[in-house]
Symmetry: C2
């Protein structure tokens, strides 16, 4: 392994200006958004085309040097952060929307397009690309697919996986799999794209994707509701689904503690309700027809039956945006306030109330000073069940973090849930996997890895 030689070849492949080796210029690529993981790669390479990505990966295979693909570097589990010594392959320059086919409700975007760029290309064609999450201005579609991102509208439109019609992937040996189909149905053998989606770059590098688009909703209704309990919130979702079917686009839960952090860190944002219910719901319905009357009717019944304590229906786009602002500021508000222990669990919707009751109680028994900052996506059974401590040292106390995490994860596991609903595994949860996956499932995963990346050079130390 002569790294000098590899660097020379890489510079030939992508141009000398696109191979970074200086500590300062590599620094932003070497740590994650939350500053929890750090590593110094051998170099940062910034190819501009699929052919250049393929050449870089070929060279890495020839030199036996590991590769870490990186998009917007907004991941929360260290999946895109180097551990040290790898070639960090940034996909930022593969940022073209290659084509839009409005009649087919599809487009093809390169991996380095930000999610917002993809959304905009769809909008420009009179269509909707529904994937939506807080980091969408920076996160890239390649990373969204590599981590099977979820976000705000999964309840209606599915995860990133369900929005992909086809992929172009550079395989660990540098060959390019051209799988950019744009079909809703294709049953010609194993659906290979499924293997690469959610694999966090450990099986190959997604360089472009063919994506599903939807009709733009002509009518959107946004509302903020208060409720006394999670059981009431789950029952409310059932009433709404019964009433307006699949028009429920988002149904976000916000614990009062999470809202208080936002209010504290962003005092300019206005709170929608006068009272302080234990739980808040941000509801969005959207579709081709006005649904105000029906939704208002369901909400009125819910108030009458006590499921909802208070409600505000947005009467303008500005008011709807102000409600969403509250939801979207939660991660940043938490970050500003200080370190917290983040969890990203999911359980069946029918077990959400039980999960929170059991986890709250178990944590308070062990850590009387804990504050649970909980928010999430009720329709997906997915909670960001985060833990804050008055004493900032607590949240970085490795032993405390491990004990608290095991409590939360064990309860999720007992209720048929998962320890990572939408953030993936990365470095953060790699060790934890062995606690919650059967040896058989882990061995199947390893067999897949071995069959596609026998050299083990794709994003090592992540996921598996």
């Amino acid at each position: 392994m002569n790294h000098g030689n590899l660097l020379t070849h890489l510079a030939e492949a992508v141009g000398p200006g696109q191979v970074l080796t200086g500590a300062d210029e590599m620094a932003p690529f070497g740590t994650d958004w939350r500053g929890r993981y750090r590593g110094t790669p051998l170099c940062v390479v910034r190819p501009a085309t699929t052919a250049e990505v393929a050449r870089v990966v070929q060279l890495c295979a020839a030199f036996g040097t590991p590769v870490v693909p990186q998009g917007g570097n907004t991941g929360l589990c260290g999946g895109a952060t180097p551990r040290g010594g790898e070639v960090l392959l940034s996909l930022a320059r593969l940022n073209h929307v290659r084509s839009v086919d409005a009649a087919n409700y599809s487009l093809v975007a390169e991996a380095g397009c930000t999610l917002m760029r993809v959304q905009q290309a769809a909008t420009d064609a009179g269509r909707l690309f529904p994937l939506s999450l807080a980091a969408e201005g920076t996160a890239t579609i390649g990373g969204n697919l590599a981590t099977n991102a979820g976000g705000l509208q999964v309840l209606r439109y599915g995860n990133a996986r369900e929005l992909a019609l086809g992929l172009e992937v550079v395989l660990p040996d540098g060959q390019v799999w051209h799988g950019l189909r744009a079909l809703r149905k294709d049953n010609t053998g194993y659906d290979l794209k499924q293997v690469f989606i959610g694999a966090e770059g450990t099986l190959g590098i997604i360089t472009a994707a063919s994506l599903r688009l939807f009709a733009q909703p002509r009518h959107v209704l946004t509302a903020w509701l208060g409720a006394d309990s999670i059981a009431d919130v789950v029952a409310l979702l059932g009433c709404l689904r019964d009433g307006v079917g699949e028009l429920v686009t988002a149904f976000e839960l916000i614990g009062d503690a999470a809202l208080s952090v936002v209010a504290q860190q962003f005092p300019d944002l206005q709170l929608p309700l006068r009272g302080k219910p234990a739980w808040h719901v941000l509801l969005e319905c959207s579709g081709g027809m006005p649904m105000q009357d029906v939704v208002s009717g369901v909400v009125a019944s819910a108030i009458e039956s006590g499921l909802v304590t208070d409600a505000v229906l947005a009467t303008s786009l500005a008011q709807a945006e102000a409600l969403w602002q509250l939801r979207e500021h939660i991660p940043e508000a938490q970050k500003r306030r200080g370190f917290s222990i983040k969890h990203d669990i999911a359980v069946p919707i029918s077990r959400l109330a039980e999960f929170v009751a059991r986890a709250d109680a178990a944590l308070l028994r062990q850590f009387p000073q804990v504050e649970v900052v909980c928010f999430g996506h009720v329709g997906d059974g997915n909670l960001h069940y985060n833990l804050a401590f008055a004493d900032p040292a607590c949240a970085t106390d490795a032993d405390l973090v491990a004990r608290a995490t095991n409590i939360v994860h064990d309860i999720a596991g007992e209720l048929g849930g998962t320890i990572s609903a939408e953030h993936g595994i990365g470095q953060l949860k790699r060790e934890m996997l062995t606690r919650y996956k059967s040896p058989l499932e882990l061995s199947l995963m390893r067999a897949l890895k071995q069959s596609i990346d026998p050299q083990g050079l794709m994003n090592p130390g992540k996921l598996l």
Copy 2:
């Protein structure tokens, strides 16, 4: 390989009455619905539980005997038909709905449940299981998943793949993978269920599935429309999606020739339109709110602009069912009339008109006596583009069939399409795959097969 010995062990595993070896009793399992494939298995084994399936597969692995899993035996590509000498493993006795979780919008069904049984279990819980296809009274959910079945409501709800939350699978060595999660989001490593869905039993045997349910639509609107061209039909779908968004549940295309076959074979069925447009559309919209006014408005505009030549909106459930009867009788009517060459292609929706124009012209040039009987699912770009001949000998002339099939498939391929949209590969299209898949893609598929079924005993001679 002492087969007598294997039979003894199998009888011990499932009970002697559940191992069939007589020619007569095995006959129904040895041929497919269309009577195109025949094979005599070593025996038919009918386990009743997952543990029994596991034991049977273990024994087959130990004896090196291939296994063919079979559900309702309604496949159209010979994927569930034995070639000869295998253990045919019928899943018909694994027919329990294990649990229904209405609040989580999910249920767990065993592989041998008919699709209709699953639909009924959902209905009984006030929910909808939307997968729907002509053979639903006989086809089993295990087979639906093994072939990633499509059907009538894919446009709105997705293929079988998108409806699966988790699987239980007996692996080729007889181990059981317990992956029956009921989560909308779970990003903990490779999504193994995706590998088994659509694999046609070549990687393992699905014994149970956790399935997604939806809200029952409270309002359904069914209509029958006439149009002059496929371009008009595609434009009409765009208008409807713009107008009512995702409420379009089904948008079925029926060529006038296909309707004529139904009328001829089932003269009691009433045709909805007085005229004879070139193309018919069976439209279904459904949702939580009445949509009659909006849909009527869209249809009226479409009549005005000439996209639609004539329209009937069903005014009763009986009338809606009568319209669906016409659509659902197409396969049986074709079968009664005689052999036809069936195709199951898909292209991007934007290329449907071009596909039909090019394929019609190319076929007529080669076979002036051909009659194209075309129907399909416009929202999925999926056409059953079938060929009938006045002279019945034509449809069984292997050379003619191959030439006609290549014409159809080549054009689909050139337009970015697929040679199997929803029927799978089975035995029928195994050889054809090599013409339309890159060697790289085939080698990736083989690598997957090798890593999970190194002995090659799972449904050999199918798919790969």
